[in-house]
Point group: C2
Chain length 147, copies 2
DNA sequence: TTAATATATATCGCTCGCGACACAAATGTT
DNA sequence: AACATTTGTGTCGCGAGCGATATATATTAA
């Protein structure tokens, strides 16, 4: 038995599981708004700055067009965003919030605090949190550019 | 603008992105073996202990039957595992490695070291690693039981 | 024993995530 | 100008994840 093939030794498995479980924790909060977690991510990007290109959102969320485009199409058919063809460069697609998409921000504003509260029992300390965020950022930064 | 709705403040987004990027790093190593990452996880579980019930694998990987069953069915059609109906309890399904599934362990044994090597440039220090693993385990343990 | 309930696994339908590839518009080259 | 190349986005197909629900078997209650 190769010891390095033990599941318990795998960092990736932990990230994969933690990511799924936290996303599940968001679900009851997002479902009343009719949102999935990736859709919520897109909205967060647009709430920060409305009217962004597909490529901007793509870079920000580290997702390719083959994931983003169908996601945005679903969001458009839900009436959350509007996609318009670029004027200067006609290959581009500009994504803007609809009235409904803007309005959702108000309803979503308590979600982060709800999540934080839900985690109060297992919340990492400030120091652990700092290390966690820093380590993840370092991994992401490294892997993002290694293509 | 609600500050807590900023993407940069979201731990979950970091976990989600890091998880996806690391899974992508596994891809070129797993593809020659004809495996996806979740399939590799199932094999790791069975390499540790062959002949496990669907429920055992389910618990170990923190995945429900509606994810595990189709995954195992695909693996069975690839000839990696064999699924047999339980004898004592006929509701159960026992999952066993095929000859091919056993043989793959030999080919996969270097994957963890390859991943570690690929990360040498951004690898967390021993201390960071310890905090990361410990924090993730704490989050996983907490969320696993909060259903 | 029979009926009610619980449990193990499976099925269905949807959204993602992604490799492979298509396509049009922009840019560079000759 | 004419052609080749690059770029921005989209399409297609498949394998996850997962909520909702189905099915068969096991267990418990009456």
């Amino acid at each position: 038995m190769y010891n390095q093939l033990k599941l318990d030794n795998q960092l990736c498995f932990r990230l994969y599981t933690a990511s799924r479980l936290i996303t599940q924790a968001y679900r009851p909060l997002l479902e009343p708004l009719g949102l999935t977690y990736p859709q919520y991510l897109v909205l967060m990007v647009l709430w920060e700055n409305d009217h962004q290109l597909v490529s901007d959102i793509s870079k920000r969320l580290v997702l390719e067009s083959n994931t983003i485009t169908p996601l945005l199409q679903r969001m458009e058919s839900e009436g959350l965003v509007v996609r318009t063809k670029g004027t200067a460069d006609k290959r581009q697609t500009l994504v803007s919030l609809s009235r409904k998409g803007i309005a959702l921000q108000e309803q979503a504003k308590d979600i982060p605090d709800c999540i934080t509260a839900a985690f109060s029992d297992c919340a990492p300390s400030q120091e652990e949190s700092r290390v966690l965020v820093q380590t993840l950022d370092s991994i992401i930064k490294y892997l993002k550019n290694s293509d």
